[in-house]
């Protein structure tokens, strides 16, 4: 077994994700099977291989695409707040975070 019930609980906690008892066991079993399959990557010796984090080569990004740091108008606040779950313009309201 690659992944335990405790692992799934820990990861769900890290991801702020409520899972029911049923989901917990279903996902554990399914992810276990997927991790078993992923294990085939260990057939490859990658000791001298560089990890690839993104596709584009250096000349296609970084200097080629950095822009000047300019202030541009972006008047969307009203629109954004209109559809927020609990707006208190110009703020989003959330449950109390700090106890006095």
């Amino acid at each position: 077994m690659k992944i335990s019930r405790e692992d799934v609980l820990r990861v769900a906690e890290l991801a702020y994700l409520d899972l029911s008892e049923g989901e917990l066991e279903t996902y554990r079993a399914q992810i276990d099977e997927i991790l078993e399959y992923i294990g085939k990557l260990n057939e490859l010796d990658t000791a001298n291989v560089q990890p690839m984090a993104q596709v584009l080569s250096d000349d296609q990004t970084a200097d080629a695409t950095l822009r000047e740091d300019l202030i541009v108008p972006c008047a969307v606040a009203e629109d954004v707040l209109k559809h927020a779950p609990d707006p208190e313009p110009p703020y989003f309201r959330v449950p109390k975070v700090i106890e006095r």
Partner: protein
């Protein structure tokens, strides 16, 4: 007046220019057909008739004034529901964004409208583009218009279905591991993913940022080229969109393909491929031979590791990207007195099963103690897969493969086994990881019924070559092999 259903972009331009029809009448006719078929197909989630009306008024004014028409003037298009449209509901196929109205347009949408296209509405898809059958949508599955008991493919199933059913002339989808090409294959239409960096991702609601790409569906390769022409190119709002020049794709289409070298990689023709698919793809390859292309047997030795690599990298990036859905700024909130419990309950209630499964897997492969064994390992194997493509393109001009190992499968047939569903993407994820462009072009129908797609990969920023080959194949009767 009776209005034909099978419009092309050129056909729309000619009809408008000759005043045979107005943009308003054309779009009204499309909405009539959508009304008649959408309840059955479930392909559109939201229609945008007011916005369409404003655009048809603009186009019809240009015609009335005798002004030149922009390249997509009056062309009715549909947009996958993971692409932002200002003021038009954009759900990502998820309950968590059931009432989300983006405050801005994606760059691709803005460019389509600036070119005269008329947005009819938003199309159904797997939740956050995670799926290969469109069965992971919180708003129900889409039916394949060619075979209603079958899936349309996914995740861009709605965008493929509306074009195949004549409910839009073209559409935009997104492709992370095959989500444009596979539904294109399943619905029997050409569908293209440009190189990573070719089309701006600004306004595309992120699933896996190093893989996500926006691209077109249409009924003809020429129309795919016309749409790509408009949406491609540098956008200051996406730092990964490149400054590489955009060639005139339409002008390149008619160039002869004789003498081009095409790779047939052995690894894409192994076990697991449906016999009917194999027969059609082999017949398709014969067409390229007749066109004078030179076929070259090559090896791409890391192909078999692509699904494992993809499901590490895509889920890791997804777990990070989807952290933003916390009930604070937009979308669903499940109230609770505690902030942390509010996050947990909102996410637990708002996300569907596949999304939760991928968040758990992605968080796991990034977590302390497992990062090196999974995420770092996946990034290293991604290098090897990209190297396979670089090696291949030193020898050949393009690579031919099947798009999917199987024809469209039945609704519900694969939903219980996530790993089996993931393996449906076996021929498409390689190109996603490597960042190369790819198209799926119709390659016959099994028993005259179930469509097969042939995939053509090109070198990075070699979209013109890919389109040229696909067009030649289509012209030579590829769709009816």
């Amino acid at each position: 007046m009776r209005i034909a259903a099978n419009w092309t972009i050129d056909g729309v331009r000619e009809a408008l220019g000759a005043k045979k029809i107005s943009a308003r009448e054309l779009v009204a006719d499309f909405y009539k057909r959508i009304d008649a078929r959408n309840a059955e197909l479930n392909a559109y989630l939201t229609l945008s008739p007011e916005r369409a009306r404003r655009q048809t008024d603009r186009v019809d004014a240009l015609v009335a004034e005798g002004k030149p028409l922009p390249p997509l003037a009056g062309v009715p298009v549909a947009i996958k529901d993971v692409i932002s449209t200002r003021g038009i509901k954009t759900t990502c196929g998820s309950k968590i964004l059931e009432n989300y109205f983006p405050p801005y347009d994606a760059t691709a949408v803005e460019r389509l409208e600036a070119a005269g296209a008329v947005i009819l509405g938003k199309t159904n898809c797997d939740e956050f583009a995670m799926g290969s059958s469109n069965e992971n949508s919180a708003y129900g599955p889409v039916k394949n218009p060619l075979a209603p008991d079958r899936v349309p493919g996914g995740s861009s199933g709605g965008s493929a279905a509306v074009v195949a059913a004549g409910l839009a002339v073209a559409s935009l989808g997104t492709d992370t591991g095959g989500s444009i090409r596979q539904p294109g294959s399943f619905c029997g239409i050409p569908a293209m993913m440009g190189s990573y960096g070719r089309v701006s991702r600004y306004g595309l609601i992120a699933f896996a940022s190093s893989l996500d790409r926006i691209g077109p569906f249409a009924t003809k390769v020429k129309d795919v080229a016309s749409i790509l022409q408009v949406i491609a190119g540098r956008d200051p709002n996406d730092s990964t969109s490149t400054t590489a020049p955009v060639p005139n794709y339409r002008a390149e289409l008619e160039k002869p393909v004789k003498g081009l070298r095409l790779a047939i990689p052995k690894e894409y023709f192994g076990e697991g491929m449906d016999a009917g698919v194999r027969q059609k793809i082999e017949a398709g390859i014969e067409i390229f031979k007749k066109l004078g292309c030179q076929l070259v047997d090559i090896r791409m030795p890391h192909t078999d590791y692509a699904i494992a690599t993809y499901y590490i990298i895509a889920t890791a990036e997804a777990s990070s990207n989807l952290a933003r859905y916390d009930g604070v700024r937009y979308g669903l909130r499940v109230d609770n007195d505690s902030l942390l419990a509010m996050y947990r309950k909102t996410r637990g209630a708002g996300f569907g099963a596949e999304v939760k499964r991928r968040i758990v897997l992605g968080t796991y492969v990034l977590s302390a103690g497992y990062y090196d064994a999974y995420y770092l390992k996946g990034q290293k194997v991604r290098s090897l897969i990209a190297q396979d493509f670089r090696d291949a393109f030193t020898k050949v001009d393009a690579i031919l493969t099947p798009t999917s190992p199987v024809p469209p499968f039945k609704l519900g047939e694969r939903t219980d086994d996530p790993l089996q569903m993931y393996l449906a993407d076996i021929y498409t994820v390689t190109g996603s990881l490597a960042g190369v462009p790819g198209i799926s072009v119709p390659c016959g129908k099994i028993d005259g019924k179930l469509p097969v797609g042939l995939q053509i990969f090109g070198a990075p920023f070699g979209e013109a070559r890919v389109l040229q080959l696909a067009h030649a194949f289509e012209q030579a009767g590829g769709a009816t092999v």
